[in-house]
């Protein structure tokens, strides 16, 4: 079976890969491009561990084919910190101990950043609904929500 040649932009860099038509974008990111930040939890779009943005839109990369990324702009967790400077969301996650095993964390950070770019001042209810598709089996969510709300406040003060 012949492979599909894909040229796409990931975290601002042009990237090329060859993929099988059945491979998901998540498979391509992890196995073709070597970006293993996005995790596979369920593989069926329920858990959000594989969250990335596709042309600015938050999606589950397990529910996108690698071939669909042709000509698109993708951002992943690897594009979040600027060198050694963590994004405020990442810093607040550490401060609030908003992670334990860490498998859900990249997806939650990508999802939370997508909301704060759209709405810098969300209510806690808005935040909880926005993150309803990001499952965490360790924290009980409360610390995650506190970390995100705290980061949002800091980001509003800084802008």
């Amino acid at each position: 079976m012949s492979k599909i040649h894909v040229t796409t932009t990931i975290n601002g860099d042009e990237v090329e890969y060859l993929c099988d038509p059945r491979e998901t974008l998540l498979d391509c990111l992890r196995d073709r491009v070597g970006l293993t930040g996005a995790k596979e939890g369920c593989g069926t779009g329920d858990c959000g561990a594989c969250s990335v943005t596709l042309d600015g839109r938050l999606v589950c990369s397990c529910l996108v084919l690698g071939a669909e990324a042709e000509g698109k702009e993708i951002t992943t967790i690897e594009g979040m910190a600027q060198g050694d400077d963590l994004h405020p969301l990442q810093r607040k996650f550490i401060e609030h101990a908003a992670l334990q095993c860490g498998v859900c964390t990249p997806g939650i950070l990508v999802a939370a950043k997508a909301l704060l770019e759209k709405n810098p001042d969300p209510t806690e209810t808005e935040m909880r609904y926005w993150l309803a598709g990001n499952l965490c089996r360790c924290t009980g969510y409360d610390k995650i929500i506190r970390a995100v709300m705290d980061a949002a406040e800091e980001m509003r003060e800084a802008s």
Partner: protein, 288 residues
Amino acid sequence: MRYHTPTSFEDATAIAARATGITRYLAGGTDVLVQLRSDAVTPDDLIDIKHIPGVREIARTEGGGWRIGVAVAGAEMSEHGELGRDWPGIVEGMDLIGSTQVQGRATLVGNLCNGSPAADGVPALIAARATVTVTGPDGARDVAVEDIPAGPGKTTLARDEMISAVNIPAQGTNGGDAYLRFIPRTEMDIAVVGCAVNLTVDGDTITAARVVLGAVAPTIRLVEEAAAALIGTTLDDAALAALAEAAEAACAPIDDKRGTIEFRTDVAGVLAKRAAKIAYARARGEAQ
């Protein structure tokens, strides 16, 4: 699996017509890729329709209605504003499907063609008298949305046909719609019962009505007896009771982990009353 990216509906249906194995169209992929990944359905030909011009557009038609492209995602409908002011029930129904991530990809037509009796995107479309444009080898024709589902996972579309647009009529200034569903939690679940109501009023009197129930029968049901219970009334208690009775009578649900037959039947009546009240208030121009 062969991955195709046609740039017209004619080319897309021609690929499907030539195919000898399993064919699937790919728009948002939130059902197709789940089925692919779980080895439930492995298409021989996967036809990505997102390269066809216009499929991502929401456009006002000349008559004041709307034409929604087949690859418009739920999030794009929710963010549109004007569409949701005309048809809040349609937008709310679509918005109930899945998570933020799923909303970034899932489409109305995908929800319709997946053929689930519990599809949240579909009842309000039927209530709105929406049609879909079906493109096939003999050209395009418009089909009422209620004529597409044929049973769980099945549609009336032929192998070489596909839906190429959703057409929603003008709502007018004295109409209003609503969609409600019951799930055992607040988010991310499949409807136990869904109910859409679309009403037109003249002053306080209902002059036209459509009541549609989801998840209580093998297909989504347009319940004419329930609409008849509302027409000519001012949505008084007697009308609401008759509505609930007609809605319950239209139920032929299954028993499953989400709800028993008795529970689904009872909830259908409750949701019909609540949705009718919201649609009535909207039709009268009261903010809801």
